[in-house]
Amino acid sequence: MNEIVQFENVGLRYGAGVETLSDLSFTLYPGSFYFLTGASGAGKTSLLKLLYLAQRPSRGLIRLFGEDAVTMSRERLPGFRRRIGVVFQDFRLVPHLSAFDNIALPLRVSGVKEKDLTTPVAEMLDWVGLGDRAEARPATLSGGEQQRVAIARAVIGRPEILVADEPTGNVDPEMAVRLLQLFEALNTLGTTIVVATHDIHLLSKVPGAQMMKLEKGGLSDPTGSLRNPPLPRDRA
């Protein structure tokens, strides 16, 4: 099975400080579902930033979709980023755009024609239960609603990898289950899912998901199951 993400001895340091991430080596496989857990400050968000190409590592090798992401030129980054969906911990919705326009943003950035994006965006709004809030600005949405818009924006472009940072942090348990079901549905369609979460109860809700635990910037079990390619979720 070809790996979709490969980390080899990756370290990340911000400025002249100590390494936030140290000696990370692991491989992610297409169509798999991963939970990334760890205490606050363990480096989950930093690891995700490396995954969604918001940060380059201080050392080590990262291969993404079979290509070296460390030395990749800036000009090639947008093309790779379009293959990755991101749910940010702080949502990062564009404040002056409606829910509809926020969700449509990845499609517009990719050059999808206006007539081709209305239906999928409307469907996605319905799916996250915000069909009647299409024209609402983020400031008028609750935290949970904003999070659902952020998730819808991350998945609308059918990314090959979906990276979510605490995606269920602001929603009620029922909505959390619904969102995980969405992730599972995407996963069965072939999208690799990486969900960073504090909530260990979520792990039991996705059978067959792999777990990566970060402790003080390193994987707590670097020789664990991630060393062995897991089966894709639909065949697990």
Binding site: L53, P78, V86, V94
Partner: protein
């Protein structure tokens, strides 16, 4: 460039645009207004200098220096006759005494001439040279002046031939200096406009940092982002430019009316031809292009610092 103005509405909404809401259009309006005035001044001086130079470059004056008025008159007539026969000379005119009186009036004063001794004419007391005004078929260079001297010298010893352009060379030089100062001002104003655009673009980038970050992470390219800023600043520059052009043109026309009322020599020759007006009309467009290019370079430079 047209593609800047046909960006889809949803893309335009990414970076909110408020027409004439910020200081930028007004700053550009003032800059374009001053640039229009400076350009018009430079062009007017350039045209005036050129007009005067064209008028005088093919003219020369022959001075017959002779104390005896009778001999002077004869030498002047002989020289004029010789000059009329030359192919180089298009027109010959011996200046009448009354005209010479007028020429020296600013130095001696009309009163002095009128109150001259009993002879009735000051010209008879002051040994003024006889003057022959020549219009040549081509500009009076050293070769032409040499030919004229060779023709006149045998008839009037000590006759002088001088190009008319030499007489106002210092004025032409001053006009040219003023012209270059005006164009220098245009360059300085353009640089100040570019600096204002840089500050504005950086401020806009800072204001929309979060949005830009999101667009980047969703796969937006530097070009897509910079186009949004270019369009915004181009529109600001266009609006400001048109405003500046209207005000500048009004001032130029007003000054033109006042200058033509003065009705004196060089001042009256200060005018603007149709192609000068074309250049002045292009100032706001050039200002807009300058603002766009500056904005693009600033935004692209700033984006390159972000991963």
């Amino acid at each position: 460039m047209l593609s800047l103005f046909v960006i889809p509405g949803h893309d335009r909404r990414l970076i909110p645009e408020g027409r004439l809401s910020g200081p930028m259009p007004w700053v550009i309006a003032i800059m374009i207004f001053l640039m229009v005035l400076a350009t018009a001044t430079g062009l007017a001086f350039a045209e005036a200098g050129q007009n005067v130079s064209d008028q005088l470059s093919s003219r020369a004056t022959v001075q017959i220096i002779q104390a005896n008025p009778d001999i002077k008159a004869r030498q002047a007539n002989d020289a004029a006759a010789r000059l009329r026969g030359m192919a180089l000379v298009e027109e010959v005119r011996v200046l009448p005494p009354a005209e010479i009186e007028e020429l020296i009036a600013p130095w001696l004063g009309q009163t002095d001439i009128a109150e001259a001794p009993e002879t009735g004419s000051l010209l008879e007391d002051i040994p003024l040279p006889a003057l022959i005004d020549l219009k040549l078929v081509r500009p009076a260079g050293q070769k032409e002046l040499g030919e004229l001297r060779a023709a006149v010298s045998p008839l009037a010893e000590g006759a002088r031939v001088e190009p008319s352009s030499g007489l106002i060379a210092p004025v032409i030089s001053l006009v040219q200096s003023l012209q270059w100062i005006a164009f220098g001002l245009v360059v300085l104003l353009a640089m100040a406009t570019a600096a204002a655009v840089i500050i504005s673009a950086r401020a806009a980038l800072n204001t929309h940092k979060e949005t830009i970050g999101v667009i980047h992470l969703l796969g937006g390219t530097d070009r897509q982002i910079s186009r949004l800023f270019q369009r915004r600043i181009a529109l600001d520059a266009l609006l400001g430019g048109i405003l500046g052009l209207i005000c500048g043109t009004a001032i130029i026309l007003l000054l033109g009316i006042q200058l033509s009322a003065l009705g004196s020599g060089l001042v009256q020759s200060l005018g603007l031809s149709w192609y000068s007006w074309l250049i002045i009309g292009a100032v706001p467009i050039l200002g807009m292009v300058l603002a766009m290019v500056t904005a693009r370079m600033t935004v692209m430079g700033a984006l390159r610092k972000i991963l």
